[in-house]
Point group: C2
Chain length 115, copies 2
């Protein structure tokens, strides 16, 4: 895990990129931009500390479906895919199942919204 700083307005990740880490917001605001919104409109969701984002691609090994942009100067804690997978492997089987179930349902709903 490491701390990373993003200046206001900088893109943290874009749709279609490989997911190599998740982020915990330490300070600042992060905008999440859904697939039909390529950083042009207002963010679909604005997240604050201590919320987490970027976890979806790590869980199901898919490309980024949404984009993330620093809406203010931000300090984020970056958790790599390997670190996250270790934490998940050390979790109870029910917790691992819940993470898988939530992630799968979220992807299904997101895909339906695109149709």
């Amino acid at each position: 895990m490491e701390k990373v700083n993003y200046k206001s307005g900088s893109i943290i990740f874009d749709q279609g990129e490989a997911a190599t880490q998740l982020f915990v917001i330490s300070s600042g605001k992060v905008g999440i931009y859904f697939p039909t919104n390529e950083f042009t409109e207002e963010p679909n969701i604005v997240l604050n500390s201590p919320e987490i984002f970027g976890e979806m691609g790590l869980i199901d090994d898919a490309l980024r479906m949404a984009g993330a942009k620093a809406e203010t100067d931000c300090m984020l804690i970056s958790v790599s895919k390997v670190e996250f997978e270790q934490k998940l492997e050390n979790s109870d089987v029910i917790i691992r199942g819940v993470v898988a179930a939530l992630s799968q349902r979220l992807r299904q709903l997101q895909k339906k919204k695109l149709k």
Copy 2:
């Protein structure tokens, strides 16, 4: 945790009920019915072993938003709210954050679909 059997066609839980447990499918098929579908149409999702359902209400303490029905004779493993919470408390802080983030986004998307 305990094993529970449901006959084909029996309702496991209905929308609006309090969420007291989650289920792991040990055998059989379970249909999930979204809010606009009160067991009258085909299920919106059909789940099989070893999938998990009913976790949403445990995570954010909300009432059941979807209904669940046994589509065939089913054997389920029931995990109580207290058991689940203990497992979650024993998990790494990042895993707990991921469970919270996924759950929150899923609720938001489900609510949008209702509008």
